[in-house]
């Protein structure tokens, strides 16, 4: 293949250089009905799962069809989305914060054809390309990270766990039977690029083995003081190591007992890999939320300390998630988020109703604030 220049001249990188122009300005991309009615919306309604209408002061309406999608997406699929948007939506569309695609039309009469078109499109393997749903008191798309597909620190895969989970809970993507919205999030290590720590249910990749020490290369590839400073528990110390070759090199020693497997050292130093087939797997968290509705935002809590990476579909993980959702759906009151439900019935009841074992791992032992999670009361349920 021949190199095609964009016009960039590596010898004169500053020539004609354009920088700091930022993103495209938002209003260039507004569909006309949005541009016209911005700031004048009166109310909205979910007409059926995945279909919303917004009504403006002057009577204008915009109908939105929301579709799920994998956040990893090829240009072919984007082109197909564009084709649909051009056919039905005058060439406009948008994405939501949770990786859904939204097609908007300005008249109710246009909705049915759009719906039919979307629902009919499938991948070769049989899965929907554009499942409609993700609204109201149901489960919407999972926000997630890269996992094994593109990241150097994951303890599990992201796209795979998400696909397995969404297949399991698919009916709740297309339904609104739950007591309140239920947000599932996924992060493939505790860097939590996806900030899953405030989700109703969070899937988290976690390592359980301390880093291996690649002494031979460590001082060559890493800045040892940075690796040491990176450890939040102070478990890493400088040391000298005699290699089999007889050479003595600078390296580090790890106090394994103090390692909490965060991988922050590995982020600073590639000679400290943690990944391991047996050690790595899934932590499940539950009960977080970001909305200020009724109760204040809450962190998710660790409810399952470890599940193995059972590729390709993580059945224990999806079963456990399903169990939590069904217990919640059966027991929570209308409007009650999963975490609000757990707090109302008490976490002792949560474990009982979800049939989850309570293990010592679930008791906080991380620094001073751990104390505040212990029970300082005689109020509890037998």
């Amino acid at each position: 293949m021949a190199f095609i220049s964009s016009g960039y001249d590596p010898k004169e990188p500053m020539k004609n250089r354009i920088t700091d122009i930022g993103p495209k300005k938002f209003d260039e991309f507004y569909p006309p009905v949005i541009a016209k009615n911005k700031g004048k919306w009166l109310y909205h309604e979910i007409l059926e799962p995945g279909i919303l209408v917004h009504v403006a002061e002057g009577g204008d309406e915009v109908y939105t069809v929301r579709c799920g999608g994998a956040r990893i997406m090829t240009t072919s699929l984007i082109r197909e989305i564009c084709e649909i948007a051009e056919k039905h939506c005058d060439g406009y569309l948008r994405f939501t914060t949770r990786n859904n695609i939204e097609f908007m039309v300005d008249d109710k009469s246009k909705v049915d054809a759009l719906k039919k078109d979307l629902a009919g499109r499938k991948f070769a393997g049989g899965s929907f390309k554009f499942p409609i749903g993700g609204t109201g008191a149901g489960i919407t798309n999972i926000v997630h990270t890269q996992g094994w597909i593109h990241c150097h620190t994951p303890a599990t895969d992201a796209s795979g766990t998400v696909k397995a989970t969404m297949d399991e809970v698919f009916s709740d993507f297309q339904n609104m039977r739950l007591p309140a919205p239920l947000r599932i999030s996924m992060a493939c290590c505790l860097n939590m690029c996806g900030a899953v720590h405030c989700s109703d249910i969070a899937i988290l990749g976690y390592h359980r083995k301390p880093p291996m020490l690649d002494h031979e290369y460590l001082d060559k590839l890493c800045e040892i003081p940075l690796a040491i400073a990176a450890c939040p528990t102070g478990a890493i110390k400088p040391t000298k190591v005699d290699l089999p070759s007889g050479e003595t090199v600078k390296s580090v020693a790890v106090n394994n007992e103090r390692c909490m497997f965060c991988g922050n050292c590995y982020t600073m130093c590639p000679s400290l890999p943690l990944a391991d087939k047996d050690g790595d797997g899934i932590v499940l968290m539950a009960g977080g939320k970001v909305s200020n509705r009724i109760s204040e935002p809450k962190f998710s809590k660790v409810v399952v300390a470890f599940l193995p990476n059972e590729v390709p579909r993580w059945p224990q993980m999806t079963d456990t998630i399903k169990k939590m959702i069904e217990a919640y759906a059966a027991d929570a009151k209308k409007y009650e988020r999963l975490g609000e439900w757990a707090e109302r019935i008490g976490w002792e009841r949560f474990f009982e109703k979800c049939e989850l074992p309570f293990t010592h791992h679930l008791i906080d032992d991380f620094r001073d604030p751990a104390y505040y999670t212990w029970r300082q009361s005689t109020q509890f349920k037998f």
Binding site: R17, F26, H54, Y92, M176, A275
Partner: protein, 437 residues
Amino acid sequence: MMKHETPLLDQLESGPWPSFVSDLKAEAEKRAKNEENIEFQIPSDVVEDLLGVLELSFKDGTTHWKHGGIVGVFGYGGGVIGRYCDQPNAFPGVAHFHTMRVAQPGGKFYTTKYLKDLCDLWDLRGSGITNMHGSTGDIIFLGTTTPQLEEVFFELTHRMGQDLGGSGSNLRTPADCIGQARCEYACYDTQALCYDLTMEYQDELHRPAFPYKFKFKFDGCPNGCVASIARADMSFIGTWKDDIKIDQEAVAAYVGGEFPSNAGAHAGRDWGAFDIQKEVVDLCPTNCMKYEGGKLEINNRECVRCMHCINVMPRALKIGDDKGLSILVGAKAPILDGAQMGSLLVPFIKCEEPYDEIKEVIEKVWDWWMEEGKNRERLGELIKRQGFQKLLEMTEIDPDPRMVSEPRSNPYIFWKEEEVEGGWDRDINEFRKHHLR
């Protein structure tokens, strides 16, 4: 016939949810055929090798990607994340597989023209694989080689008027909710503020001068659809100061069942007839509502604007007119010191162009953080380390009980010498005259 067998991944093609495996396999085939005769600037089997290396990870339970290394475009400290495969011989198509972050537009509205231009560019110069979108919000170009980075950047800026987003220790691409563009709850124009600040702080976005990453997120109301309170070093969350507006006729329509409560969000189950007392009044966190004689009353002074009643009856209840936003600071994911949510720094501020008051707060926060923050210390960690009071001192904001959920329960007050009558210098010999040893 694919280059690598992927029996494990193939099992992710079934089931109803969109299969990324199917999508990638189709893309791989398309590139192999190349019916449009694109002069691919990176290996044409990149997608096949990506599937291959992912299958390997499924098999051996570990990742095969290495640390980034320093790649990027000239003069920028962010926007590109280097990525290399640790099995380059088996998967040469993805031996170099860098990410480029393309700054997304506010509200993530697009024209198809724009998206297709992106696709054309990425088909030619990259893997044809994207994330729509990354966790912080950017459009992610997933996988290209080092020589293509400047080419992509040049084409983005010259042909599309489009810049890269943030990465590394700098301002990350700010993200907003849909806001006033299509939401009746938005208390300010999230897209306008997000765009203005993004443009104002381009330098901070592209040229790392910060101790670590920094995120702005803009939520139009306390419902928090972009989760700013959990994810942004600085969250801008819309709110209002005056009364919720009540349309009593519409209230009656909800009570009468003419309007679907909660905008229809609970339609998937028969919850029984709408009960305004049980579903609205009794769930108010401050019990500031009353429904008597067919009339809904709100004691607005005691309202904490949780949005529940408005969410349940959007046609009857409207946010107030005296609108603005709250600023919360310090949210972050767990690593390293534990997760934080944003803590309320500014209870209320008007949101009006040119946003000078808001920028003043931002810049004072940054000045402090850049001066005092340690390497890789997020703002929230600095606030914890030096104290909320220090934050107030540095931002010159007066203390307010709204900033705390409760006052301190320990009496360990670090008094300053100038606050204490007579200062701290004392004469031990004078003291000993009255207090023998």
